[in-house]
Symmetry: D2
Subunit: 304 residues, 4 copies
């Protein structure tokens, strides 16, 4: 049976829990939040859905020991108000770094040995810390990273060419933050290179880049958080782990040469990161990736 | 193709939109909110999910004219902060009554002729006003009413007997508010009367009643709103309309003898309320229903 | 993760496999058939769906050892041509009784310790044999039994009153065969007794009984087997086991007083049959149940 | 609301109907077969599922007039026994060409003006005939064509590299028949060209080609028909039409230069074929496509 834990029940964690229940994905769902009342509130709001669903999920609130035999833990803790102050995802760095210490120790203590998918921001830094402190292997821990940003790039390009965003392939890489970049050399529209597609449709790559990011900020400025797209990313990754799909997608994975996690193509299965999918980048793209890695690295250093 | 509109994108409306998109229910989804930025934020957070889903939904923000040929409109406007002041769902009465005037006129103007499902509170009063002001028939308009409260009763009883809440049948009736009541004479646990079930399991009906309501308040006090269970109720009703299911369930329907909407068993299909499902109540239950109707009626009168 | 085995890949077993894959229910699916070519054919027809689905399922053909850690095994072996000769579900008795000996031994040998759901006919007899020969507990083994016949009764009554069959509750009990009967005292239409509903709608119970059964024979005579409704029954039961739903439904369960399996209300969860749901029957209904039990018992005796 | 018709209820048509019902995709489903008993059998086997599903679908058997306002018609008529004689999909040519005359006239007569998706074989020939004889535009009619063969290629490559077939992109083009070919220049494995992937994993393209086709024949020889993968292809196309997804995929579309339908990349939306997706092929691939077109053309000529 499928057992999943969600740690941190803000808008993202709660939406993930709702989706795991209403799509019948989780057989058992462990919900944990630093605010006991919030956890109980989500527990009851979800329990009250069960009469209206075709499936059943056992919901277990606030019990770390129940995570011992979980298949997957999704960490989504955070302090959204901290973002506003700094204006970027690193605003939550100090807050979340402190939470990692507590959460990682508890996960370690109960003997969890499944796969941990981190959403908490700054995603690459926090994923790095979680891997180090939980004692789980580098395969078992990864972050949603630029899987969300890639979805936004697909949306922006799809919108520009009036098509299903699923027709767009390719990657946004690097930090899940300001230094991320679309590796346009990897992007294809229905099998055509982005240059060819852009020529046909009159697209401007810089403008598309702008629109992909702007989407994120339209959401943040309009509702003060984002939750739906990130949830569908996390759900897709969790399902890839549960079913050992060996799904290719960009996530925050540990790259040896950088010594920390960063958004890069990988293959996801039951062990977690089954493989790093090494791809060819242009010299400019490689430089952007190196730069992004440097920024993540500096943030990590700043914590010591 | 299925076209659905959601008016009011607070936590409930947004969660409904998310569910309609991620479950592939709506082919076209019209999103409307008094806050333009909020509507655009939800639009983009939902558009960004499409790369991670197997289905596609066309999302149309802030366009009342697009509602002309919608199959279903779900109204979920409100002012959650108004609730806190008054402590019950009537707290939003004056605010939402004013919104009805605007929304109903716009719906009427575009020539919408589908089914309107209202969630906005106080549900029975607002549903009554929406029917009167949209010019839609009493069949075409209904409210979620005590369909949610019934789900909570099922959860509370199911929890008490350690079973799937879907094993529990029966109704919570009356106002979707403080005067609602569980019609225990209608409640069955796996086909047994609640008295028989209670005798076997040592249940106390007053305690169960308390626990059903307390669940709602645990949610409200822990997260300051409720959104998940109500969403699954609204989705189930919308699907019953789309597929002409003739689904039996308690919703807020117009009862001739009271002259307004109130939570009562009905049958839902493409026309909306296909039938009122007249049931036998005990004398005490009938008195409670009458009392609840009186309270709704007084609120309606207070508005004139 | 969810691991399910299907033994017997005729129309029913194959449709179950298809549903487990296309609804994303199984993470691992073990497919076994006495005809190796058929198993490989189904394996490939299902593998070829994976590019068109949002989920992934690992498909393992013809490997009994893979069943060792399965959560659920569904047995759907049979010899449909044997039915035609006899005209009822007992036609497959001797054929399937022989298959049980082989299948049960193999299941036992690999150390399977999950829940076994039997569909093979005559369902109650074969379920009894499977429980005896696998060494699994009476809780761990049950059959679909009259869960299908109950669905047909719901369909027939729903059709007669022009409503969603889900508005109809109640049970068909006894043998999944000719001696089954609708326990009309348990049937309700939207909370009304069948007598009340019949009076309102002008229904004739004997005619409804006839129409419920006739549906099954219309299917059998038109397509020479039935597969869809029985699949949805089996899937619902499998999900109830996986998620420990404690779902109340009539299935083929072991009743102490009869000493064998028979269609009767039960509660299904992770252990299998969590509880027998003892219900009150009329004297006539009880006599019909006793008669049905006698017929099952005689068939069992005829095998010794 | 979504209304879909299925004409031809063999294994493929019936599985499509089952999927449209059990996934809650169709609100109304019109089922038509030349064998009245078969249509009624499928109708009842599907009606009996409704008590076990969370959704409802209105099922209308054998009524061409009900197709008037359908959104989509899927044609899946055929004579599987004819295939066996000839050994390839052209075996059904004369039989199905005769059926087209009857079906097309009836569709035309009722005034159907939605999108027609053809599965009947030989797919490209029959699709061409259906478009000519229904009077529907070339946009409104298309066939599943090599969308299935592409899924099989994805499966074969995915299996070879031990990955989710969804990681594989690219096209099988030409006739849905023996002259089809994988356009390897279009195939990518996680964003790598097939040559690069093959070099890394030691793949042999001719062998992969063989394995993709062999899968189809393993299925056909083991179960005497194929139904599951083709169903998921048809469902995906139908959903793309219903939701106006503008989904890029290879289907049987009308190419001006050939003057008939053939498997080629296209974009599918509410109008049907929204766009032909012209792609660059190698000289060898283009020659194979021309050859495949010639074979389809000859078959068409043979009918006059």
């Amino acid at each position: 049976m499928r057992k999943i834990g969600v740690i941190g029940l803000g808008h993202v964690g709660a939406t993930i829990a709702y989706t795991l229940v209403t799509k019948g994905i989780a057989d058992e769902l462990v919900l944990i939040d630093s605010n006991e009342d919030k956890a109980v509130a989500e527990e009851y709001d979800l329990r009250d859905t069960l009469s209206r669903l075709d499936t059943f999920t056992k919901i277990i609130p606030q019990d770390y020991t129940a995570l011992k035999d979980a298949d997957v833990i999704i960490t989504a803790f955070g302090n959204i108000s901290a973002i506003k102050m700094d204006g970027d995802r690193f605003g939550e760095l100090n807050y979340n770094a402190a939470v990692v210490a507590e959460v990682a120790q508890k996960i370690k203590k109960v003997g969890f040995n499944g796969v941990l998918i981190n959403i908490s921001n700054p995603c690459d830094v926090i994923t790095t810390l979680l891997q180090r402190q939980t004692g789980l292997s580098k395969k078992q821990v990864f972050g949603t990273g630029t899987f969300l940003d890639t979805a936004r790039m697909q949306r922006a390009v799809g919108q520009a060419v009036h098509e299903d965003p699923k027709n767009i392939s390719g990657y946004v890489l690097g930090e899940h933050g300001e230094s991320q970049f679309t590796a346009w050399s990897t992007v294809e529209v229905k099998g055509h290179t982005i240059e060819d597609a852009a020529a046909v449709c009159g697209l401007d790559l810089a403008d598309l880049d702008h629109r992909a990011r702007r989407g994120g900020w339209l959401i943040f400025s309009g509702k003060h958080y984002t939750c739906y797209a990130i949830t569908t990313c996390a759900i897709k990754l969790a399902l890839a782990v549960l079913s050992d799909a060996h799904l290719a997608c960009p996530t925050s994975v540990y790259l040896e040469n950088y010594g920390h996690y960063i958004g890069y193509p990988a293959v996801i299965g039951r062990q977690g990161v089954v493989e790093i999918n090494k791809i060819k980048l242009t010299i400019e793209e490689q430089a952007k990736l190196d730069n992004s890695a440097k920024i993540i690295s500096e943030k990590l250093t700043s914590l010591h």
